[in-house]
Structure formats: structure tokens, C-alpha cells
Symmetry: C2
Subunit: 355 residues, 2 copies
């Protein structure tokens, strides 16, 4: 258990892939970020002709005890209501997944609701929400390990059942920007206030309240956290959906899938996964820089260049779905564009000009 | 001739469209820029259920006399070679149009090549490239009017032949960042050096040379330009593809199409079109902020929020094609997402929280 074997992305064909990119009929580097993306995808798949197969997005949902402290603009009930919206196909993520033929799974990692009659919700839970981290650790160490494992097993099963080689991870959980802010602060040491944002839409007064609640919460756990390893920190401050996403990312990296990272919460899950193996990041594509305060700083910390900056603050994996066509474009230009030679286009380098 | 009648975008249904957006199952404004885009598209089409029909991208190509001054990293021959690459389907814009089922037209507005044997190139030209603006005006006033008219007529024909309601405008023309920089400087009064970039890939020394050439060119024409109207300025500093794009934009706005603006050169064409009618901008979607110096400042001047910032510097309409799925997403969420009421999700506003 919790024994991941994550290889660095192969560099074997890096040079020949880069050469293929550079012979396409465009000025060197003129496709900007798409060129970096094509290189990353092709290196992960260790081929000059990469393909995206059976793209899949999973939304991990769970509730958070800290929502009782009034740190969210919406009540906890919305988590379950939105899960039902996902399975009925009415949410933003459903619309965008249909648009791009992306399969969608909805995973109950610990929502405060019994979805037994909804067989399309994948149930892997130990509780109906975490404990309130303003007063106690979110979960036990054993629980945390169980949820990491469940996230990983789900990915493993997906790989066995389908030919999926690209997975997006999204979430739904009222209160989860609070848990994420605390985890971000703990692992990056960035000032806690800079990690705390307005979530789904707090006003300024409510934001100040959220800052106070989280500052007290962090102080409460500080004695434990000072000597804690990553697992203890995750169990103390985390949320079930964050833990399962973290496990899913570790397994996805081990299976050498492309991993689409959605917004703030997914980026925090990746930050935690990087404590286990820094190589996880090499498999990750940062899809969207969200409007949530903290996300820009976190992406900078991770040296990540997001594909989109659309001011979304929704989660659900929407950033992954919206960015997906750009990944397709990266693969398509690499596979389909003519070379200078094929097209009979002069490829004059700068040196000969202005002669 | 040159008599465009461009209406402001209708505000008749603006409120009901915004209300429809706000009842969707997401926090208010959580889809960020996609919400603004949905509102714009629905207002242009004056309906709460907009549709994108028969999307079309046109690449206007032409050569520039100023390329003789060594202001580009590639020789003029590349313009014609790339046009042939477009009609053979080997360029980036071909790959991205195929990806998104966007029709593509290639228009020879003044390339230094005879495409007679290539019937798929639409020929509307008066010369094999503009005069060298380092020494003389780019074209005559009569020519400029002819090219404006031709761009407009092409759009009018497209609207008659298809049910197209969304058009993207791209370009190819070695030397056209030089003409664009001069036009931008003339119409915005932004310092000329801040309008001049590296184009397809000049090095620092070459950039300084380009700055010197363009500064001299602007000084040469300054006596004419001081008292010139927009048409004279366009004829003096422009390029044939820029003039035709400008005419196409004016006609597209008159026909109330959505207009996809690609990168730096297309934005300059729009800037010129705005001299005729400021309402053109209301029909425009700014698809990509390019890496070309000057483009960011120009977008700020136009108060435009680009959808993508992928560091592309290719033109061809590639930014339009890459952004197209985001426009689809905007329409899809507006038409398909469930409302709070339909989904039975609590839509608690901030006021009742923290009570």
C-alpha cells in the first residue's frame, strides 16, 4: 500500500520529437505553448506520433466539517445536490464533456448524503464528510491511507477497463477551498492569507471571517504539523476528495497517463502528490488558472504554465474539459502539419537575413 | 461604395439573457469570461438560444514592398509558398480548421505570385505586393477603396452562399507586422517603438534595424499623415491583406456576424475598421493575445480581453481556430446547463450566510 513507482518521463525521443516540431511549416517556436505541450505529450507517450485515447474526467465529491464555520457562500447541502446534477447531466462539466466526447465519472469520496439509489455515483467513502478542522484533524491516518488507495485503485481500474491515456481530475465540495488553502500554506510556506480566496463568492467581510477561522485552525494543529510527514499533514488538514485526487494522480503518473489538472483544489492535490514523487508533475498539464486567490501563487511555486486563464472559479473539472481541445491541437499539429521540405517552403534562418 | 451601415448590438434581450446565465447551476459569475462571451453572442444574435452556424475562416494573403528592407526573418517568397501550403492542407490553420469543422478560404489579396492554376485560391488583387513604404505610399487611394470593397463583397457572398454566422479573419504576408506597427502607431499615438516587435523571429540586432527602417518610413509620410483621414492613412501605410480584412470586418459587422479576431495584424485591421464605426468592436471576439510586441498594448487600447494567451506568433487565423471551441462552450452552457430550479440545487445568496 502507498507504494508508488513513478518514473521520470522518458527523454529517449525528446530530441527527435523536438526536431519534428521544428521542421513544421511555421517559424521556430511560433506555436508557442502548443509546442511545449506537444513535446510533453509525445515524451510521456515516448513516440513521435502521440494519440489521445478515451479521455476521461473524474469528479471527486466530499463534504467538509469546516463548512459549519460559515467559510463558504453556499451551504453543505449543495455538494450532494450538485452530485445529483452531475449524474443527471445538468452541470457545466456535463455540457463540456459532451462537447468534447470526454467520459465522466462521479465519485462520492465522502458526501453528506446516501446515494445508494443512484447507481451511477461511484461510492468510496468512510464518512459523510470530514471532521471540522477548526476543532480536530480532518480524518485519521488510516482513513487517509484508505482514501489515497481508493483514488489510486479507481485509476488502475479505469486503465484496465478502457484504453484511456489522458485523465482529468475535478472536484466538488463545499468548504474545500478552506482545506486547500491550509494544505497550500503548510507545504509551500506561502503566507496563509495569500492562500485564502473567496471560493464560490464570499464578500470582503466573509473573506475576513474565513481568514480568521483558518488562521485559528492552523494554529490549533501547528504542534502536530511541525514534525508531521506529508501523510499526517494531509490527514490533519485535507478533505476526502483531495486525498482521493492525490492518490489518483500518483497512480496515473505511475501508469504514465497524461494528467489534466483543473483549478486551485486540484493543484493542491498535485502539490501533495509531489511530496511523494516530484516526477508526478512531469505528467501534469495545468489547464486553467482560476480566479481563486492563491492559485496564481501556487502555479508559480509549481513553475506551472496554465493553458487557460478564463477567470473561472467553478471546479468540477471544467478547466480540464475546456482545455482539452488545445491538447488535441498540440497532437494534431505534430501529426498532420507539413514540413518545410514537404511543402517546398523556404526555411531561412535568421543568420542569412539582413546580409 | 464604402457605405457601411453598422448597428450597435441589440440590447433588447440583454437582461433576459443575463438572467438565464445567472439561473444556471453555478455560483454567480463562476464561468468567468465564458459568461461574458455567452452574453455577447446571444445579444448579437438577439436570442436566448444562440447557435454557431457554418463557422468560416478566411486567410487574406499579400506581399509587402517593405520586406525588401530586411525587416522580416523570412524572404517574401514564403508568402506564396505558404499560400500553396494552405491550399494543399499542410499548414497549422488547415489542421486546426479540420479539427473543429471550420471551413477555410484562402484569398490572394496581392501576393507576388500567379496562382492561376490553383483555382481554390480566391484571387482579388491589383498588384503583386504593395509599394515599399520606406520610399512611397503602399497603394493609391483608389486601390485602397477597391480592396476594402473586395473584402466586404467576399463576406457578403459568403453570407449569401452559406448560413455562416461566425467568421474568423487571418492573414499571411511577409512584412505585415511592419505595416501593422505603423498603422497602430498612427491611429493610437502609442510610441512607435512599442508597436514594433520581432515578427516571425528577428533577433535583437534585426529588431533595432526594423525600428530604424519604420521610424524613417513614418517620418517620410508624416506630412501627408498629419492631415490625413483614415482612408489616406490606410492607403499610405497599409497592406492589401490588411485593407481587405478591414473591409471584411465592416461588412461582417453590418451583417451582424460574430467576428473572430486573430492576432496582432487582425487587431490592427479592426482598429482601422473602428475608425469607420466604433460598433464593429461589439461584434468582435479577441481570440488570442500574441507574443508580438505591441499586441498587448493594442488590446488594452481597444479594451479587449483576449480568450487565449498561448504565446503564438503565427497568424493565419490560428488563434481564431484554437479559440473556437470556447465560443462553442459558451453557447453550449447557455443552452444546455440545468437551472437551480430544474436541478433542485439551493441557490443561497451571500446575504443569508454567516447569519
Amino acid at each position: 500500500m502507498l507504494d508508488f513507482s513513478i518514473k521520470p518521463v522518458s527523454k529517449e525521443k525528446r530530441e527527435s520529437i523536438q526536431q519534428k516540431i521544428d521542421t513544421k511549416t511555421k517559424p521556430l517556436g511560433a506555436l508557442g505553448q502548443l509546442e511545449k505541450l506537444a513535446l510533453q505529450i509525445a515524451c510521456i507517450q515516448n513516440t513521435e506520433t502521440p494519440r489521445l485515447q478515451n479521455p476521461h474526467i473524474a469528479v471527486f465529491a466530499a463534504d467538509h466539517g469546516i463548512a459549519q464555520e460559515g467559510v463558504s457562500a453556499y451551504p453543505s447541502e449543495v455538494t450532494a445536490q450538485m452530485v445529483l446534477n452531475f449524474v443527471r447531466g445538468g452541470a457545466a462539466i456535463n455540457a463540456f464533456c459532451r462537447q468534447h466526447n470526454i467520459a465522466l465519472s462521479v465519485i462520492d469520496a465522502g458526501v453528506n448524503f446516501d446515494f445508494q439509489s443512484h447507481t451511477s455515483v461511484i461510492s468510496q467513502k468512510t464518512a459523510f464528510g470530514t471532521k471540522n478542522i477548526a476543532h480536530s484533524p480532518a480524518m485519521t491516518l488510516a482513513e487517509c491511507q484508505w482514501h489515497l488507495q481508493k483514488g489510486a485503485e479507481w485509476v488502475q481500474q479505469l486503465c484496465q477497463d478502457t484504453q484511456c491515456n489522458i485523465i482529468g481530475l475535478g472536484e466538488m465540495g463545499i468548504g474545500n477551498t478552506s482545506a486547500s488553502a491550509l494544505l497550500m500554506h503548510h507545504f509551500t510556506k506561502i503566507d496563509l492569507h495569500d492562500c485564502i480566496g473567496k471560493g464560490t463568492g464570499l464578500n470582503e467581510t466573509q473573506l475576513i471571517h474565513k481568514q480568521k477561522v483558518l488562521t485559528r485552525a492552523y494554529h490549533l494543529h501547528q504542534p502536530t504539523l511541525e514534525s508531521a510527514n506529508w501523510l499526517t499533514a494531509l490527514a490533519t488538514l485535507g478533505g476526502y476528495e483531495i486525498v482521493q485526487m492525490c492518490g489518483a494522480m500518483l497512480q496515473a503518473a505511475q501508469n504514465q497517463l497524461l494528467i489534466l489538472i483543473d483549478g486551485f483544489i486540484a493543484s493542491v492535490a498535485l502539490l501533495v502528490a509531489c511530496q511523494v514523487s516530484i516526477h508526478v508533475k512531469d505528467y501534469a498539464v495545468f489547464c486553467h488558472q482560476s480566479a481563486e486567490r492563491g492559485h496564481e501563487a501556487l502555479l508559480q511555486y509549481l513553475k506551472a504554465e496554465p493553458l487557460l486563464r478564463l477567470n473561472l472559479r467553478l471546479g468540477e473539472g471544467t478547466g480540464c474539459a475546456l482545455a482539452y481541445p488545445l491538447l488535441e491541437s498540440a497532437v494534431i499539429f505534430l501529426n498532420e502539419m507539413a514540413t518545410f521540405e514537404q511543402a517546398g517552403v523556404s526555411n531561412i534562418t535568421n543568420e542569412v537575413m539582413l546580409g
